[in-house]
Symmetry: C2
Subunit: 310 residues, 2 copies
């Protein structure tokens, strides 16, 4: 049984293989494009498929993604539809995402952009501070990431809300679901956090219509995918001040082109897709578990449902 790793890091400094061999000494790990005897390769670990990968590995039984979002793999026509695909639920990545969400929520809650502007202008002025129970946070997407972020926000006493495709009950969170609940969810959300998977239904979901349903002066935190956002609609809402601020970690085109207006918009806080990075040390146990399942002919953990897109 062999696993092929597709990595941008040189094999000599890659962390995946040594950790994999430590936890599963019998595994034969190979780095693309040195696949050895292709008939021995059962699984591939990858973010995006290089040209010709699937032609060269005819006996492949499973694909393991190195990230939580698999939209890039599902959108690639070269990826065989019959192969089971597992996305990564890495506890360290989940924790990093919640750090990022909490940081951006607290920045907007504590009026940090206002105080940063005052520091630039040497203005000493205290503003009334809304109490956390008056600040309505709304998280779109209530999977692993959304639930963990809400759990980290809960101790601060915010008014928590959540929206998902199918109904979910979460303690201490006012939940909404489906298209019926969407307008009511948006109308009660002062800080909107997007943690949705990117699917045909969620692409372009953050558009003029959505932004118009948020209360005046709301904030957006997007750490899911750039293609969730209609950039021109977001810029228009920020220009008018209807949306008071946006923290953006992901973009339609990455790296974000140097002439994009997001870079210099006074209401935009921008990070280079750095909110949550996969950590091979904490992610490898799940890969090993799935390799054993491939061996035993069992269904994968965190298997992607291609019909719903995540």
């Amino acid at each position: 049984m062999a696993l092929v790793i597709v990595s941008r890091v040189h094999p000599s400094s890659d962390v995946w293989a040594p950790e994999m061999r430590r936890l599963m000494p019998e595994i034969d790990v190979r780095y693309w494009p040195d696949v050895g005897n292709p008939d021995e390769v059962d699984a591939v670990l990858m973010w995006q498929a290089p040209d010709g990968l699937f032609d060269r590995l005819p006996k492949l039984k499973a694909i393991f993604a190195t990230g939580a979002g698999v939209d890039a793999i599902l959108g690639d026509a070269s990826v065989p539809k019959h192969l089971p695909l597992a996305r990564l639920v890495d506890p360290s990545m989940t924790a990093e995402m919640s750090e990022y969400v909490t940081l951006q929520v607290l920045r907007f809650h504590r009026q940090e952009p206002t105080y940063a502007a005052q520091q630039r202008d040497r203005v000493w002025k205290v503003h009334p501070q809304p109490h956390p129970e008056q600040r309505r946070i709304g998280v779109m997407g209530l999977g692993e990431l959304g639930q963990d972020a809400l759990g980290k926000l809960a101790p601060f006493g915010f008014a928590l809300g959540g929206w998902s495709r199918t109904p979910k009950a979460l303690e201490g969170v006012e939940t909404f679901s489906g298209s019926d609940g969407f307008a009511r969810f948006l109308a009660r959300t002062d800080i909107l956090v997007n943690l949705l998977p990117l699917t045909a239904e969620t692409e372009n979901i953050i558009d003029a219509r959505l932004l118009g349903q948020l209360p005046e002066g709301a904030f957006l935190v997007n750490c899911a995918r750039g293609r969730h956002v209609v950039d021109d609609d977001l810029l228009a809402a920020l220009d008018s001040g209807r949306l008071a601020g946006a923290a953006l970690d992901v973009f339609r085109e990455e790296p974000l082109p140097a002439d994009h207006r997001f870079w210099s918009h006074p209401r935009v806080i921008l990070t280079p897709h750095a909110a949550a990075l996969t950590n091979p040390l904490t992610a490898t146990p799940q890969i090993v578990e799935n390799l054993r399942r491939v061996q035993a002919g069992q269904p994968l953990v965190n298997l992607v449902d291609r019909s719903r897109g995540y």
Copy 2:
């Protein structure tokens, strides 16, 4: 029984009196300088004493501070030493302080100053992110505020430490005490949070000596008092880069003079003493409790020990 309130807010818009009357209908609330018959006044609620206050109120039995830190009152020679003084432990103010601490700790932890500079320069570059268990937070002062802040930081998985004058045991926190434990506490602290009371012993505690004992590249969060800091020593540590950043909410002189170097220092994040504001709605129950204790001749809650200074 009457209470005199010293407030910078006009009585018509002040929140203290209506809330006080709601919780204790028998109380006679008066606003300085309209004290009425001074012989009826048992207690005063104030931040700083106006000139002549104590001469005009000879029957005073207690002083209630509107803040957690009472250094301004203890340092005022006009305040009679025999009067019991209660500081305020306002749950809402404590929660705000912990929001501020968590926000600034997460900013430094997530390398926000680096990413903010990159946004200004349109640079797309991801930096390795230290894991929270590798980030050693150290809180100076383990009273109400310090303990609450540590409780809010705990779910993120940081390596938590704390230092206090007298030994304290806190679950999940490596605690140090006294002058013996101070050097060891500083040597293991990547992000130092100051929540100490200002006393004769703690004035100027953040000086070149303390800053030199922190690891290279540490960060400082000061939301206690400006007089804890020797400004020139802090600026020197920031200039050299030995200290990688400082979030400062309090200053020796407030408002901070317009020509002070803190305003424009690239490694300083500055807020105008806005970390935690007293909320009369949540603070009044404690004042009412103490009024009843004055009436019954019982000791005050949150009584200040003048010998230790807090």
